[in-house]
Point group: D2
Chain length 313, copies 4
Amino acid sequence: MDLTADQRAEIDGLRAERRETRRVVAPALEEILYEPIAVLDHGFVRVIDYMGDDGAIVQAARVSYGKGTRQARDDAGLINYLMRHRHTTPFEMCEIKYHVKLPIFVARQWIRHRTANVNEYSARYSILDREYYVPAPDQLGTQSRSNRQGRGAVLEGDEAAHVLALLREDAERCYGHYQEMLNEDDQGDPLDPDRVGLARELARMNLTLNTYTQWYWKIDLHNLLHFLSLRADRHAQYEIRVYADVMLDTLRRWVPATFDAFMNYRMGGATLSAKALDVVRALAAGARPTQEDSGLSKREWRELMEVLDRPEA
Amino acid sequence: MDLTADQRAEIDGLRAERRETRRVVAPALEEILYEPIAVLDHGFVRVIDYMGDDGAIVQAARVSYGKGTRQARDDAGLINYLMRHRHTTPFEMCEIKYHVKLPIFVARQWIRHRTANVNEYSARYSILDREYYVPAPDQLGTQSRSNRQGRGAVLEGDEAAHVLALLREDAERCYGHYQEMLNEDDQGDPLDPDRVGLARELARMNLTLNTYTQWYWKIDLHNLLHFLSLRADRHAQYEIRVYADVMLDTLRRWVPATFDAFMNYRMGGATLSAKALDVVRALAAGARPTQEDSGLSKREWRELMEVLDRPEA
Amino acid sequence: MDLTADQRAEIDGLRAERRETRRVVAPALEEILYEPIAVLDHGFVRVIDYMGDDGAIVQAARVSYGKGTRQARDDAGLINYLMRHRHTTPFEMCEIKYHVKLPIFVARQWIRHRTANVNEYSARYSILDREYYVPAPDQLGTQSRSNRQGRGAVLEGDEAAHVLALLREDAERCYGHYQEMLNEDDQGDPLDPDRVGLARELARMNLTLNTYTQWYWKIDLHNLLHFLSLRADRHAQYEIRVYADVMLDTLRRWVPATFDAFMNYRMGGATLSAKALDVVRALAAGARPTQEDSGLSKREWRELMEVLDRPEA
Amino acid sequence: MDLTADQRAEIDGLRAERRETRRVVAPALEEILYEPIAVLDHGFVRVIDYMGDDGAIVQAARVSYGKGTRQARDDAGLINYLMRHRHTTPFEMCEIKYHVKLPIFVARQWIRHRTANVNEYSARYSILDREYYVPAPDQLGTQSRSNRQGRGAVLEGDEAAHVLALLREDAERCYGHYQEMLNEDDQGDPLDPDRVGLARELARMNLTLNTYTQWYWKIDLHNLLHFLSLRADRHAQYEIRVYADVMLDTLRRWVPATFDAFMNYRMGGATLSAKALDVVRALAAGARPTQEDSGLSKREWRELMEVLDRPEA
């Protein structure tokens, strides 16, 4: 993450101001407000604004004239209940807004979550920075043989070095030609004063998909939890998971009771099919069901045994 | 609007607290935060929370590290531009949450706006109050003869008194029977200790559609403007328009530059069809086009002449 | 369900026509197309149109130039996979449109599903029929003592008769006054030719919440499954569950492989929390965990034991 | 557009089948069903499925038991009325599904329309084809001097040739390195049998933004009209506008009355602000208002005079 002096000063300016409000406040989230949290080699997540706290969920669930309940303990109990029974509308009553810098190929996954509000930096209107993602060496996974959309062992030695060199050189060359077509240097001055550059909306097509973009992204708490349950999951691509992990931490600061309920009922939980429940019932009754008799496919059986910590089965 | 002493105390409790925040604050909206604004005979609108201000729109449009622009005047200019060209995503970056008490038949129109978050008071779980809407005498419009979904002249004298009596008696009787079926009095005590009441989820079906309900309703600024453009319009039913009018005033307190742009470009503007534009062009050129030659229907012609302040044409 | 002769003739007219299409067709659904299926005392569900079949899900998942897979068996396998891993977007590629007649208090629950398209019969514009829901005697549940939003034992004898009489009389009287205020009889003729009736948009407020309304309701398959998982659930109110049950049957006719996957992975499945999974793992390993040590609340423990068919535990 | 023999055969297979249905059919759309319509150098639009026709809009607006109206002429009249008064829900009752092949930078604009259902070809799971967009020479617009997100004069001669060469070489080189990192040739065989390739989800980041992707995209008619009103507009970027133009033609085939209403009331219409209406009223009354007195900015004045065909003013 590389902030210019101007950007750092703008952020410091925002952080220095204090105002009085009648609204509810989440103190642990206020601490990090506006501050960029580094992700990947040049990316970041910044919390820009938020609405509500754990109490606001309870307040809405009760359609209350005042606050939620009398005691924080009771708020947590109700939040657990709401999370367990998938009463989702009270969680929609909280909202959070992030500023995120991320590679374009990550942005393309991320944007598929349609329930958020988004303002992306426009490469029709402005010029993108010379910043592109190159994986850290320990992230150069090979194509998984068992999972068509996953990674296997990590590349090493010359192979790794070759891949990193290709990624760097291609991104660098494409960005250089982008500037050349635009006829602009890093300062925004014309490279050649006698030439008019190609339109920005065209030149951008020469950039590689690891180029960084940025956006303001705003979402309600219910839909944020859904996003995190998919993107902080171990099957998510590493390059988006690291963003979700950072956002999980902002969740903990913002709505700690909701965070606890989410980790227990969603992130740490599992959904079992009717046939899988039959297997579990048999096991609990002391029987020894087999994959063949269960009606589960081999893959389903293996996944169930992993959930049950019975990998040998 | 009839608050109990407990409700009043809860609201006063919320209003008395002040907290420090790094977030942007809308001072004129803070003044009325939590305070119910009366609408119709027993309804209200309360602003419960909000996120962002005029500057936040500009900040998002620029995907900025700091605030919007340097000067409020520039913010207003950009907001006008965004409103005029229907660049709607920056307006989605602000959010507001209301607590609303309203008759069920109004709630049924309102809920058709699907882009909001809603938590309604549950009549499966709780018991509705003995409160129902009866129109003020000057609102007892007859069925319009020209507009199948509008009102004409106002009923007067005995006819008006008769309608008001019917509305009152039916609502009152239905509510009384609702309590009888529930076996509960106004204090929530059993009317007959030897009897178990009908389930709440069933008894509620006996209530009339003018019974009041209430909900928490949260929406982003773009979708709020869309709601207001339809519901504060003179063709909207009076009983929802009065809510929209009150909310227009909260809009002015919250985001004054957006309010001005909205009144100029949306509420006070008009959309003309291709054929209507041909008529306008001819008029502006000094010609005297006629309905017959215009391709407009008689109704469209009349509506266009009204927009142009040429009712005689 | 009471169709007029005109309505019956209109439906028969639609059913009699056959056209040629290149689109995929779901034969078992075509059989019942347009035909009302009775629900409650005056309600119905009609399938009006649909788009896609099981193969269309596979086709979209593969972004295919042709059909889904070569064999229906392979389609089912992929559909199971998609359902299990919550890959929801391919299911959004199918769409269905219903015409539904239902009591207003049911419509108010139903409309909370915001992802559907809806056109409701307008009581601002038209006059509602004299039709209202009265429960069958075996559905007159008392308020549950254990579940604040559920039903307990059924009312019997005089109490039941009294409730039914109240519901009938109040609905009948309110409807009668609705007509009187409108100044219209059942044929739409003026009751009193010298009087102008109250506006329809006002008179409707006198109706009770068990009055029937109707709408066209269109939804994609993914969101339909979500609707059914909530509304065909045994915790759903009976009066909406009977609609969901009928729609489950239309689902089976339309997309049989998806229906099977849905019943196994969603309707018959269960989501267990992290703490509940710990209990299940211990049971499977032959241990005898207790509620006290589990970290589960008593209620959660009881619900888990029910899922595991161990009610005695 | 370059179909393989297999793709062509799959499409021909779909087109050859005819089935019987009770659903409404749009004959002119059936003619082109499944057939790719070429857009740009390698892209296409294919209509895969649809639901409803003009009559279905009327049927839903009336919540009808049978068809729309008796006569197509009456359907068109009602559709004009609905379009003029922005009664949008009946248009949501029709649905269409496309298969689209398009450059990634176009897909990134397109996906911002969140109300559609999308299944994109996965470059985590599969390998993208060696296809990238290079503008035709007459589309090599320079950066506009008056509009920061538009194009000005077209590049010519050596400059144009140089830009085209850069775009081609960079896309070609990046694709070559993509294959090298994947260790796969054009036939999907390993380039080097002793090497395991980089994970697909990583290698894809080396591709340029003009690489083609494809997706299934499904949307209701109301939201399609909104999409077209923005993307077939002359201010839209050429590379997305050509897709919208092709889709306008599919709209005309599908729902001709809606198409006509859309062209008159939306595409050919204009929204005027309150202040602009004052100017129009003055002009229509024979006055000669000036920009200075109008309250309009110079830019707004110029845009209004363009709408009124008074460029000299």
